[in-house]
Amino acid sequence: MDDRPVMMFRDVVKVYPLPAGDVTALDHVSFEVERGEFISVMGPSGSGKSTLLNLMGCLDTPTSGDIYISGTRTGDMSDRDLTSLRRDRIGFIFQVFNLFPLLNTLENVTFPMMLKSKQVIDPEKGRSVLRAVQLDDELFTHTPMELSGGQQQRVAIARALINDPDILLCDEPTGNLDSKTGAGIMELMAELNHNGTTIIMVTHDPNNAKYSKRTIRIADGRIVT
């Protein structure tokens, strides 16, 4: 088993050049995420949470500093390599589920598998992951429009897990759900973490943060705790 941190930020700075002047969104941020951790990232609006999430998800590159994913430095990677890294090592869960409306449940879940294998895939793994997130078999052929918010988020979680990523990045995963459904999703996340999945979750909700083992608080682009 790889004992390197699954994610490591070293003195990361992110500056957005704007006509009115440069805006420093992240200011010399350093932290490590060990395998199996469940971390909440909290902070007020404009504190740099989204920038941090984009950098963690390799959707953006830092102005300075280094980011390592499972020991691999991302700074010099091409767009193609970063895309492959996202596909193979990172699972994304969004606030608004972001399922593909043209694909059914099973196709949505197996989509990242198809991106990875480039060939016809065995949908059985998709079915087993969907069952693992407690979705009924009868919903596998439904389109996202035919699912409730909670069901959609379970499908999104299954999609994020399908390629066995090193890290699950969650952006307000219960933000669009009622409290009961949200609690169900958080229970599921806790269970996934209990089974070894590393989770980093950006949230405003202190109730959600309770499920995590560690909280990173961020303000004005700096980690405060």
Binding site: L59, D60, T83, S84, N98, P101, L102, F111, M114, R159
Partner: protein, 395 residues
């Protein structure tokens, strides 16, 4: 292939919009292919009409720009004719090809008691030359002095059969001829147009019209590659000092005609091509709409690991499906359109199902697909190069 599947489903989701865009491609393909088919059919039709005379060199007395002025004609002659001496010179330089002297006039003729007089062209030929120049539909080549051949249209229009009698001249003063054969239809011809004419022996023509000089000489060239050589040889021999004869290489003339038809076909096809360009713009438009509508979806795809080229192909597949479907439908309708246009304009569809006509459908279909693909490239490229973060934020 999931991206192909997504492209198909997106087209199905926006069926009306996609159908309208496809309709543009259908119209474009039909326009291009039908025009191409019509142009080719016209060339083939003309080619069929002229093919019997594509192996000839026609020698006629020179007209215009003549140092002797109008009517100066052939050396020493005051009329626009070719003398026996000139003919023999032409025959000598053209050998071993056959040089056929032709006498030509027109006159009144009566085809039966109580029938009105008609006026028709009369050709005078040596009986020995006739088989080299004309083919018969029925009957025999006339050997006797009072026999004649008639053109197929002449026979049809005047209900003339083998054995019918024709009185030539006013009140039959030139004599009466018996029809011995009916000439096969020749269509337009550079040498002699016999469809609505009668052909008599040179001897009868001489006695009836008191003519010994010829109106033209037709040289039938056995080897088509020799046409330019024969033409040059005649010109050198006959036009040494002054231009006394005009020499026409019929194949060259046909090539010029076909080249002109080719240009006309290209022009009308290009007009059809404009409709295809318009269709292409409509494809570009709906593809841009599709990209704009799906920016967020593109952002999700990119964030979960879809490469730029995969996103690009997803949109190109969409353009390709529209192009292939529209072009194939257009190809089938082109056949119908070509059939209708050929029927209306050429009164025949026999030139439709030949490779040189059908290939226009292949061109039209290929052009349609290529136009769609080209018009899909920019929207696809734009989609692929969207910033995933901006795309994810898009509402």
């Amino acid at each position: 292939m999931i991206f192909w599947e997504i492209a198909k489903r997106n087209i199905r989701l926006h069926l009306l919009r996609s159908t309208l865009a496809m309709l543009g491609i259908v119209i474009g393909v039909v326009a291009i292919a039908s025009m191409g088919i019509l142009g080719n059919s016209m060339v083939l039709a003309v080619s069929d009409s002229l093919r019997t005379v594509g192996d000839s060199v026609i020698v006629t007395p020179h007209v215009g720009g003549n140092p002797h002025g109008f009517g100066g004609g052939i050396a020493g002659s005051s009329s626009l004719t070719i003398t026996e001496q000139n003919y023999l010179q032409i025959k000598r330089v053209s050998a071993p090809n056959v040089a056929i002297p032709v006498l030509q006039t027109s006159d009144r003729m009566k085809l039966g008691v109580g029938q009105d007089d008609i006026v028709a062209a009369i050709y005078g030929l040596n009986p020995d030359d006739v088989p080299d120049l004309l083919k018969l539909e029925t009957g025999d080549y006339s050997r006797g002095n009072s026999g004649c051949l008639v053109g197929s249209k002449f026979a049809e229009d005047n209900n003339v059969k083998v054995g019918s009698r024709i009185s030539v001249g006013t009140e039959g003063d030139k004599g009466t001829l018996r029809v011995t054969g009916i000439i096969e239809e020749r269509g337009m011809a550079f040498d002699i147009s016999t469809d609505s004419a009668i052909v008599v022996t040179k001897e009868w023509f001489d006695s009836a019209y008191n003519r010994t000089d010829y109106d033209k000489v037709v040289v039938k060239v056995k080897n088509l590659d020799d046409l330019p050589t024969v033409k040059t040889a005649i010109e050198k021999q006959m036009n040494k000092r002054d231009t006394i004869v005009d020499v026409m290489d019929t194949r060259k003339t046909m090539e010029t005609i076909f080249a002109a038809f080719g240009q006309i076909t290209t022009f009308v096809t290009a007009i059809g091509g404009i409709s295809m360009i318009v269709a292409g713009v409509s494809i570009l438009n709906i593809m841009m709409m599709s990209v704009t509508e799906r920016i967020k979806e593109i952002g999700i795809m990119r964030s979960i690991g879809a490469q730029k080229k995969e996103v690009m192909w997803m949109f190109l597949y969409e353009a390709l499906i529209l192009g292939i479907a529209g072009s194939l439908i257009g190809g089938v309708l082109s056949l119908v359109g070509g059939y209708a246009i050929s029927s209306m304009m050429l009164q025949t569809t026999k030139y439709l199902f030949v490779p040189s006509s059908l290939v226009n459908i292949v061109y039209g279909v290929t052009f349609g697909i290529v136009v769609c693909l080209i018009c899909g490239i920019y929207p696809a490229w734009r989609a692929a190069n969207l910033n995933p973060i901006d795309a994810l934020r898009h509402e």
